[in-house]
């Protein structure tokens, strides 16, 4: 299976994403900048999920757990910085240099431990066991009263980096956008390397890769850990954005939403996760201004996308020109089909 890339589409989407939100901010509509920030952060998580779901065929239904863990890695030190405690561990701090690496570390460790167990299973069993671990973390955190349980952790301070103030919505958006681009490039690099080839080969036919001598389990575990760390990074950003960290961030319904974003956008494409995040959040926002029953047209839309097209938004949009050209060229000939 080849990785589909639509460089023009990707460039277009990323440029629009860089330009439009600040434009809204400066023309007196700051709400849309916030919306874009949230969207960008979720896109980072979606890109990390695409690495394992789209390219490696590992459908993780517990990915939101990493977002939650990353957010708590910001919240708990922040909480102790305000209210005291944990100083001897060096964990009472509002420094971003502590928060973000800590988030990624925790994400990686959790991914390592659970990945070792989960990757022994396949298919729908893998899906369920990843969800099981995420649910266990959820219930564990709900029961910790000090950090609020599901009343959540409210921190009034954002991660502090020298020279950058995350309190400024424009700068927060900028940082998120830069991280998104970096993560996208990283994933793209990994996917096109030999490491990525093994993963993609294992997705298509695991036995063949094993017979060729590759320990696919190790490759998959590595990808799983990296994806976990990256999702935790997005969680740290999300914690900063909302300044309210609750176990609900890691609920299985949130994992589901991430999955849907990746699938809707188009799995195993570079721009797919971003498109999916954009589509999900924009449609939700626009539709909800018309009616509180927006989930009805939204659901119909999702069903329509799946029933009447293949491969998600990236493939629909990216192949649009190609399809038209082909149709014109071969007098009503068939459009290209990309079967997953």
């Amino acid at each position: 299976m080849s990785a589909t890339n639509y460089p023009k589409l990707t460039l277009l989407v990323m440029v629009l994403l860089a330009v439009l939100p600040p434009l809204f901010y400066f023309t007196g509509q700051p709400f849309y900048l916030d919306l874009a920030t949230r969207l960008t952060i979720l896109a980072i998580a979606a890109v990390s999920l695409n690495l394992i779901l789209g390219y490696s065929g590992l459908v993780s239904f517990g990915h939101a757990a990493y977002i939650g863990l990353g957010a708590y890695a910001v919240g708990i030190p922040g909480y102790h910085a305000i209210y005291g405690g944990l100083e001897s561990w060096g964990l009472a701090s509002t420094s971003g240099w502590l928060h973000f690496p800590l988030a990624m570390l925790i994400g990686a460790i959790f991914a390592l431990i659970t990945g070792i167990v989960c990757l022994r299973t396949k298919g729908v069993y893998f899906i369920m066991i990843t969800m099981a671990f995420a649910q266990m973390v959820y219930y564990a955190i709900v029961s910790i009263k000090t950090y609020g349980g599901d009343d959540g952790l409210t921190i009034d301070v954002r991660s502090e980096f020298p020279g950058v103030s995350l309190d400024d919505p424009l700068q927060l958006f900028g940082v998120s956008y830069v991280v998104l681009v970096a993560v996208m490039l990283l994933v793209r690099m990994m996917v096109n390397s030999r490491f990525g080839m093994v993963l993609r080969g294992a997705k298509g036919n695991n036995e063949r890769m094993v017979m060729m001598g590759y320990n696919t389990y190790r490759y998959q575990l590595t990808a799983y850990v990296i994806a976990g760390a990256l999702a935790a990074l997005s969680g740290a950003l999300l914690g900063n954005f909302t300044t309210f960290i609750s176990p609900e961030m890691m609920d299985w319904t949130r994992s589901g939403e991430l999955m849907f974003m990746v699938i809707l956008g188009g799995v195993a494409t570079t721009v797919g996760p971003v498109l999916g995040a954009v589509a999900f959040i924009l449609i939700e926002e626009v539709l909800s201004t018309f009616t509180i029953y927006w989930q009805l047209p939204f659901g119909l839309l999702l069903m329509g996308v799946v029933l009447y097209s293949q491969g998600g938004l990236a493939n629909i949009l990216g192949q649009w020109r190609a399809r038209r050209a082909l149709r014109d060229a071969s007098q009503g000939g068939a459009a290209q089909e990309h079967k997953l």
């Binding site: 916030d34 209210y83 609900e248 961030m249 989930q295």
Partner: protein, 392 residues
């Protein structure tokens, strides 16, 4: 000439300042199962606007509703939209503690006033208190504390407790344990969340087996109806008297009556308000609500009605001049309006110092199941977290 022009211009500006409507954003749950509560609050808030004629003094009032979908992130986004896009001056509502805590910063950072009409988590009354936040409800712990006193007064020596395992549930349990002097023979915190536990068979069997004299529960929303049913079906209404908070109310009673669950009649609950409270504002509120919507309002509605009235009183007192925040704040703090619960004052943390009543589930004169006040448990009670608030 110039002076006249200037004077005219000033008058025009002043006039337009007066003409600018004051906008109130109202965040509540309008979708998902929690929409039952949201609808009640929406109805009550709209009724308040109707009673006011849409004005506070000379200033036009505008009410904008937003849905939190029972999720903190959605609530925060809805709040952001109200504050940044719709440019409201007040944000009111909030059923759920976690939605309130998630949205709080958005309102306060924008310099707007936050009036909670239900959620009362302890941080809001304590560590996170703020000059611009006010409550027209109560602090979560107060209602169960009142119930603990009721149990003491009744001579109940042993208690079995059931509540959902989340922050508010634990607050309720902590509240009743604060004041109850007898022995707690057993405690069950049941699974809560998107897939909340709705079948309490195991816990009810334990409760019966424990030999406790009374059962204390907190099950808001749909779980309340489910609990009441199972309590009935297990025959416990004959052997284990039920004391509840935020479980049996005007929202669940019509359903329970339609399902003929008579075991719930006679059960007791505590609250800061009841439809039978004898003051003019309440009589008007309840009568008009019943006439318009065909059912009794719940305390969620009463608190929402008060929120709008409180805001209106402040707007009227300051002539709609939202630029003078200190004046608005002082007017809010004065609570100079006819609350449906009767007169109350604000503590240092801007939570009401108010009475709490013991209510019993009865049939009203028309045969409709409702509640009536049996006793006043607390007079001018202040919540236990006021001391933690840094404000004087």
């Amino acid at each position: 000439m110039k002076r006249t022009l200037l004077a005219l211009a000033a008058a025009a500006v002043a006039g337009s300042l007066h003409a600018a409507p004051v906008k109130i954003g109202f965040v509540t749950t309008l979708t998902t199962g929690g929409a039952v509560i949201g609808k009640d609050m929406q109805n009550a808030a709209n009724l308040a606007m109707e009673h006011l004629g849409g004005k506070a003094g000379n200033t036009q009032l505008e009410l904008i509703f937003a849905d939190d979908g029972f999720k903190p992130e959605v609530g925060k986004q809805a709040t952001d939209r109200l504050v940044k896009q719709d440019n409201v001056d007040f944000v009111a509502g909030y059923i759920w503690s976690h939605v309130l805590l998630a949205s709080r910063k958005s309102v306060l950072d924008a310099g707007k006033f936050l009036i909670t009409a239900n959620a009362g988590p302890s941080p809001m009354a304590g560590k996170l208190c703020h000059p611009d936040t006010f409550s027209t409800a109560g602090q979560n712990d107060q209602t169960p504390m009142a119930l603990g006193e009721v149990l003491n007064k009744k001579g109940v020596k042993s208690l079995y407790i059931m509540a959902p395992n989340y922050a508010a549930g634990k607050d309720m349990v902590a509240g009743v344990e604060r004041t109850f002097k007898g022995k707690v023979l057993g405690k069950d915190l049941t699974k809560w969340g998107a897939d909340a536990q709705m079948d309490f068979s195991a816990e009810l069997a334990k409760a019966r087996d424990s030999g406790a004299e009374a059962l204390f529960v907190f099950y808001p929303g749909a779980a309340g109806g489910a609990f009441a049913k199972q309590y009935n079906q297990a025959g416990l209404n004959k052997t284990l008297p039920l004391y509840s908070v935020f479980t049996v109310d005007a929202l669940s009673l019509p359903k329970l009556q339609a399902g003929n669950l008579e075991g719930v009649l006679g059960s007791r609950t505590t609250q800061l308000w009841d439809p039978t409270l004898d003051n003019a504002a309440n009589k008007k509120f309840v009568a008009d609500y019943k006439a318009k919507f065909g059912a009794y309002p719940s305390y969620y509605g009463a608190q929402s009605y008060d929120a709008i009235m409180l805001i209106a009183s402040a707007v009227k007192a300051t002539g709609g001049d939202m630029a003078n925040k200190d004046a608005v704040r002082a007017a809010l703090k004065a609570a100079n309006y006819d609350s449906v619960r009767g007169k109350y004052t604000y503590g240092n943390n801007h939570f009401p110092i108010q009475n709490f009543y013991l209510r019993e589930v009865v049939k009203d004169q028309g045969g409709v199941w409702s509640t009536k006040v049996v006793d006043t448990v607390y007079n001018n009670h202040q919540d236990p977290f006021a001391a933690q608030c840094a404000m004087k």
